[in-house]
Symmetry: C2
Subunit: 373 residues, 2 copies
Amino acid sequence: MPATRRPIDRFYSVIPAGGVGSRLWPLSRADAPKFLHDLTGSGQTLLRDTWDRLVPVSGEQRIMVVTGRAHRAAVEKQLPELADRNVVLESEGRDSTAAICLAAAILERREPGVIIGSFAADHVIPDTELFAEAVSEAALAADAGYIVTIGIRPTEPAIGFGYIQASAALAIEGAPSALTVEKFVEKPTLVVAKKYLESGEFLWNAGMFIARADRLLEELGRSEPALLAGIQELAAAWDTPERGAVVDRVWPNLKKIAIDYSVAEPAARAGALAVIPGRFRWDDIGDFASVRKMQSGGRASDLVILGEDARILSDASSGIVVSQSKRVISLIGVKNIVVVDTPDALLVTTTANAQRVKSVVDALKLSGGDDVL
Amino acid sequence: MPATRRPIDRFYSVIPAGGVGSRLWPLSRADAPKFLHDLTGSGQTLLRDTWDRLVPVSGEQRIMVVTGRAHRAAVEKQLPELADRNVVLESEGRDSTAAICLAAAILERREPGVIIGSFAADHVIPDTELFAEAVSEAALAADAGYIVTIGIRPTEPAIGFGYIQASAALAIEGAPSALTVEKFVEKPTLVVAKKYLESGEFLWNAGMFIARADRLLEELGRSEPALLAGIQELAAAWDTPERGAVVDRVWPNLKKIAIDYSVAEPAARAGALAVIPGRFRWDDIGDFASVRKMQSGGRASDLVILGEDARILSDASSGIVVSQSKRVISLIGVKNIVVVDTPDALLVTTTANAQRVKSVVDALKLSGGDDVL
């Protein structure tokens, strides 16, 4: 049993809670995004799981949540301990750079020298202690001036993730695992992913970034000076009566860009990006095949059923049914089936096609199906 | 163009409208049986199609409907021309012998010497004129004293139907197609069905029976005298103030037996059964694979969609979706799929498994799922 962990010095966790999780439609959608669902069977939402994982790392007074105005009530219900000053509300999504760097800029003004770590609201990390150890190392590397990411050791040649190529060890005191990052690479083809896996040099990019706030903003200023200027203007007004007016004027005009492109890739090219290989299990449960796998404990042959009131009659030996009603759902002679039954939308597919669910969402956007998105 | 057909002399049509159509669950069910659905795309229910097909044969004043009390309003809405005296209401289903022979007994008392023809409420026969010709021949053979059935020429080695083995021609004036029936056979295996098809001697049993009412009751009395006695008691009270009391006392105790077993098989053994080979197309659309086939005009590759308000997003090139709501239904990467979406029950299966739907209904009966049956 590990001793109770002391929060990391000068550390602040940031949880950008914004993504809908389109590949989990129609369960995940604008008014019920992925982070507000229990997809692991833990009995609580992914957001709450994330919070509970971060409390030992930073302390509950030092977790900032960046989320949409529409989700404020749901987030506060999930996280009653969340202090008002640690909530950043977005009037509209402007991608991860705006969300994370605004949090960094606000925190740097409040507490110069702060180190922030940004962690998705909807990922699954069962090994809390190993996670905390990795963040501790990352914070030390960040304090030394690096932009730090935590990479995940690949267990299969996944094509749904970006990869990070690591190389030489960095000699940072207290962060013995830290490696230099050679490059960030986009989601690969299966052939390329297999090579990555064999090489042993590549880690999955799980979107975790740890940095001193000042260093993060400095790197952003190199690649996106206009975006940094807007963020600094917002941060300067944040804890003043001007906040509302400045947000209304500035926020909608911020460039939409992922932090991978605005900060991490340029930092990697400049030799300023470090990676800590995480030794913990991790899953982004990006689609219903992942949900099934997680809920079945890895068994291939079970039909997983989500939904407290589900009434399922099935001879299916594999697949997943998500039921949001008391309707009887009957499955006959179907294999590896995915059925997601919500009040206004029904999805029928197979685990092999689970990644393609996003295409339905795209089609609905184009065809006036916003009412079910 | 055929001339307007004159109704057949002394002929009465009987429509037993009772079967739920379990293999079409959850579309067909106790309170919305198969005959109250439009499964052909004709724009009207199968019951109304049946009525329209029988009017030229017997005239609209000479069609009797035997149905459950629960369906009275729906039947009368479908058939506003149906006279009150031509409605026989069952307090509970007692199988086809009770339904058809009670109609025969009532009609024989009202009009001695009447010939009745019994035709299912939920079969599809597009060739109305060829059907009427077959019934005309059958009525003449019936008038000569035979119990007559109209058999369907098999187009495939179906295992879902019973078969009729025909042999020598009967020399009946006006009924040149009439053949002696060798035997009735139950639903065969595929191997046996193929032999039947090759032999050319076998016809499908479509449950159509034509007979003089007195002869029908005479044959019933030979095999099931107690059942006949109950039916005669009911018929004697039918057009009197005693009807209600006698129905309450007698009807629930009538033996449940299909007319195939109580009349047709014994008559076949006694050489009293004749068959007219129908030259018309016929389908009992017994499952969703049949519905799909019928609605697609025989094309194998189309996704058939039933439901006026259906909102379907699909890359499926084959199968059938039945939608009773405005819910979005999305199908990704599924083939030969069957999705039936009703307010309280959802079925997901494949066309190859469509016959197995009845097993779900059986399971629901055993497991307290009556609310959706």
